[in-house]
């Protein structure tokens, strides 16, 4: 397993910049989820890593060796990359076992080298070895494709939206099996997805790609808690943005005063609050109070629409689905700090209800 390093990578199709000055570093043996809206260039980046596309500028190195740069282009077959394309793409004329050993030398192919071990690793019974790929379900095909990619002990494993063609139940099972197999193999892996919950649950690291640029790379928790921009915050999950004033490590907003995560900012700021940071309690004096004006109920949890007594703001709060709240009921709000704040980005942005940033991001791409 090798480290992967990308520096200043650029790719243009005609006049259209698809990958723009991209830097990315992944340590050996770790898993990165590459998240981005449709058309952001995820597939293009993977295809450049594989060597199917040439790069215009910058470099890609695997295990310290440069494989792509404007002067150098190592052909795909010499990069030691395990590639799992969307929908698996198993070779239709070969049995499962022959698919798995496809990339090995002839002698190892004859003895079906490690087939049983790899099948077990991806969570399939050993007797699947003799099946035809046409007789496997989508999720099973995906797992065989991963086993095939792992068989040659690649330096890096790349998976392009491996679960997007599967329905939700199969998706979870396949995802778990795939993540376990990657861990067992100790693989350096990049997994592409456009689903933010999948990205946050899969990678040790998550990188967000947007219009060919890398917006941020961090651990899932850090990324979710401390996104670099308000738009990114909205893309990663539901967010509430409120106007606030920062002084000496604390920020004041309509919900009260809280410690800040980034204490360097001063003056007018935007405050990010996630709906699940808000705790509800019985109304008491000296608390921020709000009225329940709407509710989306999901069973395991529920999202309440609350109108603040002061300032007429409408905000959302996530509560456990177990507690019943009534329309028109008054509740007290408390917030789990510390809070992430952003420098004010010009006068046009209002502080009230969060615009649907995810949609905003998507419509940009």
């Amino acid at each position: 397993m090798s480290e992967l390093s990308i520096q200043g990578l650029c790719k243009r199709f005609a006049q259209h910049r698809v990958i723009d000055q991209l830097d990315l570093h992944l340590t050996a043996g770790s898993t990165l989820a590459l998240l981005g809206p449709s058309g952001s260039g995820k597939t293009t980046l993977l295809r450049m890593l594989c060597g199917f596309e040439h790069c215009d500028a910058g470099s890609i190195s695997i295990g310290g060796t440069i494989v792509s740069s404007p002067g150098i282009h190592l052909p795909p077959e010499r990069r030691r990359i395990g590639y799992v394309p969307q929908e698996g793409a198993l070779f239709p004329h070969l049995k499962v076992a022959d698919n798995i050993v496809f990339g090995l030398p002839r002698s190892l192919r004859k003895q079906r080298h490690r087939v049983a071990e790899l099948l077990e690793m991806v969570g399939l019974p050993a007797d699947y070895a003799d099946r035809a790929p046409q007789h496997l379900s989508g999720g099973q095909q995906q797992r065989v494709a991963l086993a095939r990619a792992l068989a040659a002990e690649p330096a890096v494993v790349l998976l392009d939206e491996p679960f997007s063609a599967l329905d939700s139940g199969l998706r979870n099972d396949t995802r778990q099996a795939v993540m376990q197999a990657l861990q067992a193999a100790g693989a350096t892996a990049v997994l592409v997805t456009h689903d933010q919950s999948e990205a946050l649950s899969c990678g040790e690291q998550v990188a967000v790609l947007w219009q060919g640029r890398l917006l941020q790379q961090d651990s899932p928790a850090n990324l979710y808690r401390h996104p670099r921009t308000p738009e990114l915050a909205g893309f990663l999950g539901e967010s509430i943005l409120l106007a606030g004033v920062a002084t000496a490590g604390r920020v004041e907003c309509v919900l009260g005063g809280f410690p800040m995560a980034d204490s360097k900012l001063q003056g007018a700021v935007e405050v990010l609050i996630r709906p699940e940071q808000i705790r509800l309690g019985p109304p008491a004096p000296d608390t921020v109070q709000a009225t329940v004006i709407g509710m989306e109920y999901f069973g395991h949890d529920a999202t309440l629409h609350l109108q603040l007594r002061q300032g007429q703001h409408i905000i959302k709060a996530r509560t456990s689905g177990w507690h019943a709240y009534q329309h028109g009921q008054t509740v007290a709000l408390a917030v789990d700090g510390p809070l992430t704040v952003f420098a004010q980005q010009g006068p046009g942005r209002s502080t009230a209800e969060t615009p649907d940033n995810a949609r905003f991001l998507l419509s940009q791409s």
Partner: protein, 538 residues
């Protein structure tokens, strides 16, 4: 459940008619074959062995095997290579090469044979036959293989590359195995067509089973020896048909399930090498198209006495031959499509075991050499229905049997395109059954039926074997005239007939493409059988 078996008496009655009609068509289709087999079963086995155990038969068998094997192999290589270059490499004038590779199929083999043999006396026998057949039949490999190449998922190749395979090993370990069904299927069609070939062999003086069957039949109206040779030929054909079925089954198991949108397969950059490939394509087209057609052009400008036998063209004869070719073509096309309707409807709307069986009968008949079918019909007309012998209807019937499988494929796909939902909708709007046929089904299926008819027309005007054997005395068609004049070495006299025939063939091909719409070549290729029949019986 009782609920499902609730069918009105009328519906069942109508279905009964449909099955009866389809069955009758199948019986007509199979009749020549049944008669031949029945005749063989009657004859004394010792006598049978005596007829076949002759040095002549051995040399015929050797010749036949030699030409079938070498044509098939060469067509396989040529079709594969040209399909790969035209689909997978970046070439100048990219759209031209597939057209040039397919076009030779539109030139009937007896016309190209005439062209070659009139060039020089040396162009005879095995090498010339090989040249003519490879030119005419390599599209049978080119079409399915290039369709298969286009259908390959590029993700498979990319995956193989990341697994450590270079481009060459990728071709041999991944692409070639996936092309196997298309390649083998195409090669088997070539083999079947070569086995049935007749006109080219006679004109190029290459003796095979088909030419000998014809000669023995003509020599003494002794259908006995001819029938026994036919049985041998039939056995060889049966072997090939069996192989073809196996390949077909295998092909269906290779089809992948649900696939998303795919990117276009990559084309290889050849650098300066691309000019070499272009030169290759051009050279090939010179041999397969330019030379035969320009020879034809040359003879058109010559007077009759320039040829070995000086014969002048008679305008009256030219007109008569053209007229009867067109007349037979039109009548035959109408009869064939009419007979194909019940079978096609059954296959499209009531698929099941009965329909599948009838489809098999049709494909079996399609593989049988035309001369065998023609001889079978002669026997039928002499022994079973005497009034039929030497009648024009018998000839039309022969055409219908030869080309019905071809028409059936088009009719079925035309009916499949006219969805049955719409038919049901029309019924719900109050139309009666026959009104639905007339106002919904036929208009929607019309282009497909037209395509079927023009395909049959094309096949009939270029048909030689059955026409020679079965045409009523005094009826000459373009094909028989060319054959007669070329056999007599009156090359200049044959030229106008060949010209008219080529023009007719091109017009109906053009009509066919028009009716099939847009990407006609691809659609033809998708249904290898459609293409197969076109040349299988020439």
């Amino acid at each position: 459940m009782a609920f499902y078996s609730l069918k009105t008496g009328r519906a069942r009655y109508r279905q009964g008619w449909l099955f009866a009609a389809a069955l009758a068509v199948c019986l007509v289709l199979a009749s020549p074959l049944l008669v031949i087999v029945w005749q063989a079963a009657q004859s004394d086995p010792a006598d049978f062995i005596d007829t076949l155990w002759r040095p002549l038969v051995a040399s015929l068998a050797l010749n036949t095997a030699l030409i079938v094997a070498s044509t098939t192999l060469l067509c396989g290589v040529l079709g594969l290579v040209s399909a790969w270059f035209s689909e997978r490499t970046r070439l100048p004038w990219q759209g031209l090469w597939p057209l040039l590779s397919v076009a030779p199929m539109a030139v009937p083999t007896f016309i190209s044979s005439y062209a070659w043999v009139s060039l020089s006396d040396d162009l005879q026998g095995f090498p010339a036959a090989l040249l003519v057949l490879v030119s005419a039949y390599s599209p049978l490999v080119f079409l399915p293989v290039s369709a298969a190449l286009r259908g390959l998922d590029p993700a498979l190749e990319e995956t193989a590359r990341t697994l450590g395979l270079g481009p060459w090993r990728c071709f041999f370990r991944l692409i070639l195995p996936q092309l196997r069904p298309a390649l083998l299927g195409g090669m088997l069609l070539v083999a079947l067509s070569t086995l049935s070939e007749f006109g080219a062999f006679v004109l190029l003086r290459f003796r095979t089973f088909t030419t000998e069957i014809f000669a023995e039949y003509r020599a003494g109206f002794d259908s006995h020896g001819a029938a026994q040779l036919s049985i041998a030929l039939l056995l060889a054909a049966a072997l090939l048909i069996g192989l073809e079925w196996r390949v077909r089954r295998q092909a269906s198991s290779y089809e992948r399930r649900a696939r998303g949108t795919r990117r276009a397969p990559p084309r290889l950059e050849l650098g300066a090498g691309k000019w070499l490939v272009v030169a290759g394509f051009l050279l090939l087209s010179c041999v397969t198209l330019l030379l035969p057609l320009s020879t034809l052009g040359y003879w058109l400008t010559q007077h009759g006495d320039a040829a070995v036998s000086p014969v002048e063209v008679s305008a009256q004869l030219l007109f008569d031959a053209s007229f009867s070719s067109i007349e037979l073509g039109l009548e035959g096309a109408a009869l064939t499509v009419l007979l194909a309707l019940p079978l096609g409807y059954l296959l499209a709307r009531r698929p099941g075991r009965v329909a599948a069986f009838m489809e098999r009968v049709a494909f079996l008949v399609q593989g049988v050499p035309g001369i065998v079918i023609a001889l079978g019909l002669v026997t039928v007309s002499i022994r079973v229905i005497p009034g039929l012998y030497q009648s024009q209807f018998l000839l039309l019937l022969a055409y219908a049997i030869l080309f019905l499988p071809l028409a059936m494929v088009s009719v079925r796909s035309a009916l499949l395109q006219a969805e049955s939902r719409l038919e049901e909708l029309a019924r719900s709007l109050g139309l009666k059954g026959w009104q639905t046929w007339l106002r919904v089904l036929l208009p929607m299926a019309a282009p497909g039926l037209g395509a079927a008819a023009s395909l049959v027309f094309l096949s009939i005007v270029t048909e030689l074997t059955a026409t020679l054997l079965l045409s009523p005395i005094g009826t000459e068609t373009l094909a028989t005239q060319i054959w007669a004049d070329t056999s007599a070495m009156a090359f200049a006299a044959a030229a106008p007939y060949a010209l008219i025939l080529t023009v007719l063939s091109m017009v109906s091909t053009w009509l066919l493409m028009l009716l099939l719409g847009g990407n006609a070549i691809n659609r033809l290729a998708a249904d290898g059988t459609t293409v197969a029949g076109e040349t299988a019986h020439v």
